[in-house]
């Protein structure tokens, strides 16, 4: 079973990564050519802002999923970070204190996930469904149903603004910097090598002297930290701290990561593919909306893409095998 299967698997991964990037580029070109005002610089800004939270959260999520785990609590961590930001702002704390505290909070929330998953050895799916409810609930406890606004214009303007006179949004810097950091960590450091090894075979990784538990713990911390950051940016972008900010985002993030060719079983995936997945989802959404296609269609497209991203390579493989025998 092994030999042939694994050969095609390598090919499959490479293919899918190339395929998803190609599809994304194609969609961008087609959209720019056919959808009015899709290609404008202003729309580019909107597009980047719209996919900002998904893009950020998808980065650590990629690493978490490559180790064979999952973090469904990210959107709730984002919401809690936003709620706490609003709460502290109402309590008249300086924003310069609030932001680092929200990042710290995110890291702590991630650490709680990490604790349950690695130290207690509980399945991450169940744990993070639990913290998904818990963190969102706490966000409501902190801020109730109210919204906090009036964040300083200096900050909100930066988040929605562009670099100098260029049409490049400021937040793109954040995305690019973090994407590079996570990309390098995953693909060009010993930590990244460990991530793949742990995801492909935790036991073999342990026998190679790696510490899967610690690694996963810190990945959850990173996931929480980035979710906290995304919460801060979300709040500043809408100038509105609310407990329900980002609700449901986790599904879009997981969809983007899987669409990017990361195996839900762990051990496989590449960051460029994930970025392509994020951009593809965001661009499709944007273009469809500009063409007055309803949200509903988008839901269907997202769902179908998600399934096809895993199904298509599987089918291709079985067709290939059938032909060979």
């Amino acid at each position: 079973m092994s030999a042939e299967l694994t050969v095609t698997r390598t090919a499959r991964l490479a293919n899918w990564n190339v395929a998803i990037i190609a599809i994304t580029v194609l969609v961008l070109i087609v959209a720019a050519a056919t959808v009015d005002s899709f290609g404008t610089s202003r729309n580019f800004g909107f597009l980047v802002l719209d996919l900002l939270p998904i893009a950020l959260v998808a980065l650590p999520m990629t690493l978490v999923i490559v180790t064979g785990e999952i973090d469904l609590s990210v959107a709730s961590s984002l919401g809690l970070s936003s709620a706490v930001m609003g709460y502290l702002w109402n309590a008249n704390q300086p924003i310069e204190t609030i932001i680092p505290l929200c990042l710290l909070l995110g890291a702590v929330l991630g650490a709680v996930n990490g604790f349950f998953v690695t130290f207690l050895g509980l399945p991450s799916l169940a744990v993070t469904i639990g913290t998904l409810a818990l963190y969102r609930g706490l966000a409501f406890v902190v801020l109730g149903d109210s919204a906090v606004a009036d964040f300083p214009a200096l900050y909100t303007d930066w988040v929605t603004g562009t670099i100098g006179g260029t049409p490049i949004p400021n937040v793109l810097i954040v995305i690019v910097v973090l994407a590079v950091v996570f990309g390098v960590v995953l693909h060009a450091t010993p930590v990244g090598r460990a991530v793949f090894a742990v995801g492909a075979s935790e036991q073999a990784a342990r026998f190679a002297g790696l510490r899967p538990g610690r690694l996963k713990f810190w990945l959850y911390v990173a996931s929480g930290l980035v979710a906290g950051l995304a919460g801060v940016l979300w709040t500043l972008r809408y100038s509105s701290a609310r407990a329900d900010n980002g609700a449901g985002l986790e599904l879009a993030v997981v969809a983007a990561v899987l669409l990017g060719g990361v195996s839900i079983f762990g051990g496989r995936g590449a960051l460029p593919g994930v970025i392509a997945g994020v951009v593809l989802l965001g661009a499709l959404q944007n273009a469809l909306r500009l063409s007055d296609v309803s949200n509903e269609a988008l839901n269907v497209v997202t769902g179908v893409l998600l399934i096809v991203s895993v199904l298509a390579p599987n089918l291709a493989r079985s067709v290939l095998q059938r032909r060979r025998t």
């Binding site: 300086p94 109730g144 149903d145 509105s240 500009l290």
Partner: protein, 358 residues
């Protein structure tokens, strides 16, 4: 997975605390004064005699789609837009979230609409985008739920806040027989409309003639059918002596009526508030609901279209005192802060409900 990370996190925390200790940085009280609202110039002076432009692109962005009340409102808007030979468009999220509305506003800017008629899910969150729209020359008219005053050109108020609040208390008092416990089942705790009505109600209830009415609880059903349903359930359990539930939201009143009509409380607890005749007809006929009120929502959308068109055509700028004609509804005058009041609400009872279909 290096051992340096804990130190890093600790350092971050220390840095944060140090900042607090120094007392430096920007706080809410600093910005409250400093955050001058962005003003977008209203453009040239109004010319009351300018003709209404044809082919205006008028887009409606309600709080969310799939809400029957909203459907009636925008339905009225569609009629008006057709009357003035404009292009009608309806977009909106499936969830009542501000962030999705922002994406839609951005899309509408891209599509170079002439007028955006919006019901804000969060008065502040939509502000930056609305101002971007206004900078791009789009007129912004809010309805249903206002956005911050600094980021829209006009607000269509379904009725004066005072009028609705008073009429809600009047109905409650009649149904309670002038004395007893009443409770409010509202939309979300930060819903602009509901909160201002509740404020008026509270002032009214404080008056001596209403001293025997006791407001025991304000519950929030989040304009979610099921949530409202369970909240009504909770109210009746917690307050056995409750006489009236006042629900100033169409979702809430329908849910509460549905619960009561099928429960043992029917006939003992009265429901009133703001509701849609079509949704309430059944409960009025089976006696659960004696009376409730509402303005004609279709007229709101209708008025909004005319206000937006008048503004886009340069007839008005949104300044207080300006007048414009709104088709079959006649002439309207813009009030303070760009508010345009539709008119007094209608009361519905078993006697008249069959005359209305919305």
């Amino acid at each position: 997975m290096s051992s340096r990370k804990p130190q890093l996190v600790a350092a971050l925390a220390v840095a944060a605390l140090a900042l607090t200790a120094c007392g430096g940085g920007t706080t809410k009280s600093d910005t409250a004064a400093g955050n001058t609202p962005e003003t977008v110039s209203a453009g040239t002076k109004a010319d009351p005699n300018a003709p209404l432009k044809e082919g205006l692109k008028i887009a409606y962005l309600p709080k969310q789609l799939n809400n029957p009340y909203t459907d009636v409102e925008v339905g009225g808007g569609k009629v008006a837009v057709e009357e003035i030979k404009g292009e009608y468009k309806l977009v909106g999220p499936n969830d009542a979230s501000a962030s999705s509305q922002v994406s839609y506003i951005n899309t509408l800017i891209q599509q170079q609409q002439d007028v955006i008629v919006v019901a804000a899910n969060d008065p502040n969150a939509v502000c930056p985008s609305l101002n971007q729209a206004r900078k791009a020359g789009i007129k912004v008219v809010t309805f249903d739920s206002d956005a911050a005053k600094t980021c829209r050109d006009a607000f269509i108020n379904q009725a004066s806040t005072q009028g609705i609040g008073e009429s809600l208390v009047k109905m409650a008092s009649e149904l309670a027989g002038g004395a007893g416990e009443i409770a409010i089942l509202s939309a979300t705790p930060n819903a602009t409309n509901q909160n201002s009505w509740i404020k008026v109600m509270q002032t009214e209830l404080a008056k001596p003639e209403n001293s025997k009415l006791k407001l025991v609880k304000i519950a929030y059903g989040n304009d979610d059918d099921q949530k409202s349903f369970t909240e009504a359930q909770g109210l009746l359990q917690s307050y056995p002596n409750l006489k009236v539930i006042v629900s100033p939201t169409t979702v809430g009143i329908a849910a509460a009526s549905r619960y009561v009509s099928a429960s043992s409380y029917k006939g003992k607890v009265a429901i009133t508030g703001l509701g849609l005749p079509n949704q309430m007809r059944q409960y009025v006929k089976d006696g659960t609901v004696k009376k409730f009120a509402l303005w004609n929502p279709a007229d709101i959308g209708y008025l909004a279209a005319y206000a937006g068109a008048a503004m886009s055509s340069g007839q008005i700028t949104g300044a207080e005192g300006e007048k414009f004609k709104a088709g079959k509804l006649g002439e309207y005058t813009i009030g303070a802060d760009g508010e345009i009041v539709l008119g007094p609400p209608t009361e519905f009872t078993a006697a008249n409900i069959d005359q209305f279909d919305f």
